[in-house]
Subunit: 343 residues, 2 copies
DNA sequence: CTGAAAGCGCTAACAT
DNA sequence: ATGTTAGCGCTTTCAG
């Protein structure tokens, strides 16, 4: 049952039926009611393609993920982000069109997979440092919001980001305040812009106290539990081991914990750990076995909602120009002590 | 630049240009080449809506998630599933349209959010026992594949599922073979069909040896680390504690581990644990600290690919009728021993 | 091998 | 308040 049929059934024109259904004011209430009932009765649903073609609005936003961001998509944080973005978008009648593409196809795909008309705007995920996608997106001309930022990108663009630099600066400061001087950074892949910024925050905090990072205490790789474990284990076996760790995700943090336990060290006494994940920094130190998985509030959810909101604003009025949101990470201070006395 | 403009530029008709670009044989190679070059040069991209309207194919499949499945969407397994499904679909030129809807809107939304024409088929996720969505999907008439199954549903429908019952039967058998008799099941929410089946596998395995499950050793809730921990802790504090646990996810398993460590019990000697997640069962017993996160092969990835493949087959030929795939879970046997001798 | 014309289902000016 | 008409951009008969 399409509009034409429905109109015929009712003895009305397509126009009137369309107007009645879409809430236009110039339709008599009697007619509107009649039309609505008939529509419901016949289970009429407008064809989204036809409507989209006629209106120019797709009522969908795109989410493009590159295969190299694979690692990102399986990140629980990603799922949370998408879920909350989808929630906000769904409330406004928008769908999410997700495409997964290989690195090589990128340029082509940004134009063709998000073929003209399929979406009204885009959310770009997991930017790398010096990411070229922003230039492409600009050329496409669709409104877009970047979840994250791209260091060293000149053009203005809209973004929504955690303040990763500040989070790691604060976390490092905290450890420094506790008296730690040999702090290890177990970071994600530093091609990812967020990891890059985290590292900067770490180094800045050290520099502010005239300290230099020890290169052998900085690692960068995909954030798995075993990476956290192996790296921490190796660092702890060094002649001059770290007294504190900064772990760049929950999984990494768990690995670090494991290495510390295996080394027979006492968490929170001999070694401190700050874990940062999901926009949340915390110190599971004093209570080494405290659950790592029960954060009651999740900044990344907020991030998803915000990102979607921003995009909708941009779609409604592209002239609003580049807009930014910087989300402050939370820092949950747990019980903790300084480093073990020098032996 | 649309088809009309492109045709005008070339001094050809829209028809010829369309045919040239879509690989129809009746176009001369010379013309085709000329057209292709012009298309590339002008960055021509067909409008997906217009094409879809004309061909009837949307080149997209839908993925509907209800808000109550919230818990599911943040499950890392979900992200993995979607990623691999998207990969398969993208290779065939299909996008994924994701909609997140509230429980209440369900019926309406299945018809209207997936408005006619937006997608060619659907993947239904996270079915509950007695889920009513299948009936709705049938009425919509679009091809669909259920990831999971719905117990007690009469109509035939296409599905792709892990053999959860068998997995838990096997796992329970394994523990029984080791001599355990007091086995605890720390399950997910048993409204979810997969959890329901897991429980059945557990009970069946016990029944096969004339054993009854002890109700106080069976729990069902959202699969978090703290749930695993608190539940295991409570069970271990009972006068007649379990000697083995069956944990229904990695996170739950970690919680159980923590409770066991805290109770001062020796993993793999005094207490055994089988963890099942992501279609993989394993015994991290003998080496209590072995990484839980480094499974090298992930059945859920395969599930995503398979599910997408099935749907594409169904879209290509709906008459292929309901098709099913039952994916066997893997069982990784680690070092383990029987229960501690009765004191 | 190429083109003219119809139509996919809807909305939006432009009448009336 | 309702109808007429003209597209939106593409594919696809049907002619030539």
């Amino acid at each position: 049952m399409n509009l034409k049929d429905l109109a015929a059934t009712l003895g009305l024109s397509q126009t009137t039926v369309s107007r009645a259904l879409n809430g236009y004011p110039e339709v008599s209430e009697a007619t509107r009611k009649r039309v609505r009932e008939a529509a419901r009765e016949h289970g009429y649903r407008p064809d989204s393609r036809a409507r989209s073609l006629a209106t120019g609005r797709a009522m969908a936003v795109g989410l493009v993920l590159t295969t190299s961001a694979r690692q990102e998509i399986v990140n629980p944080v990603f799922a949370d982000f998408v879920a909350s973005a989808a929630e906000t978008l769904a409330a406004r009648g928008y769908d999410i069109v997700m495409s997964l593409v290989t690195e090589a196809e990128q340029t082509a795909v940004y134009r063709s997979l998000l073929r003209k008309g399929r979406v009204d705007g885009l959310i770009m995920q997991a930017p790398l440092t010096g990411d070229t996608r922003i230039g492409i997106l600009h050329k496409i001309g669709l409104p877009f919001v970047v979840h994250g930022r791209v260091s060293d990108h000149d053009e203005a663009y809209s973004w929504m980001d955690m303040d990763n630099r500040h989070a790691f600066h604060t976390a490092t400061d905290h450890l420094l305040d506790l008296g730690h001087r040999d702090i290890a950074l177990i970071n994600g892949i530093e091609d990812m812009d967020f990891a890059h910024r985290r590292r900067e925050g770490f180094i800045d905090a050290l520099a502010a106290r005239n300290l230099r990072p020890r290169p052998e205490l900085m690692a960068s790789a995909a954030m798995t539990e075993s990476y956290g474990h192996d790296t921490a284990q190796r660092m702890l076996a060094q002649p001059h081991p770290p007294t504190a760790f900064l772990a760049s995700s929950m999984l990494v943090g768990m690995g670090v914990h494991r290495a510390i336990r295996e080394a027979g060290l006492q968490m929170g006494r001999e070694v401190s750990v700050v874990v940062h994940d999901d926009g949340l920094s915390y110190l599971p130190n004093g209570t080494p076995e405290q659950p790592l998985f029960t954060a009651t509030h999740s900044p990344v959810r907020q991030a998803g909602h915000l990102c979607a909101d921003m995009l909708l604003r941009l779609i409604a009025d592209p002239s609003e120009g580049p807009i930014h949101t910087k989300l402050q990470a939370s820092f949950l201070v747990g019980p903790s002590t300084g480093p073990a006395p020098i032996q």
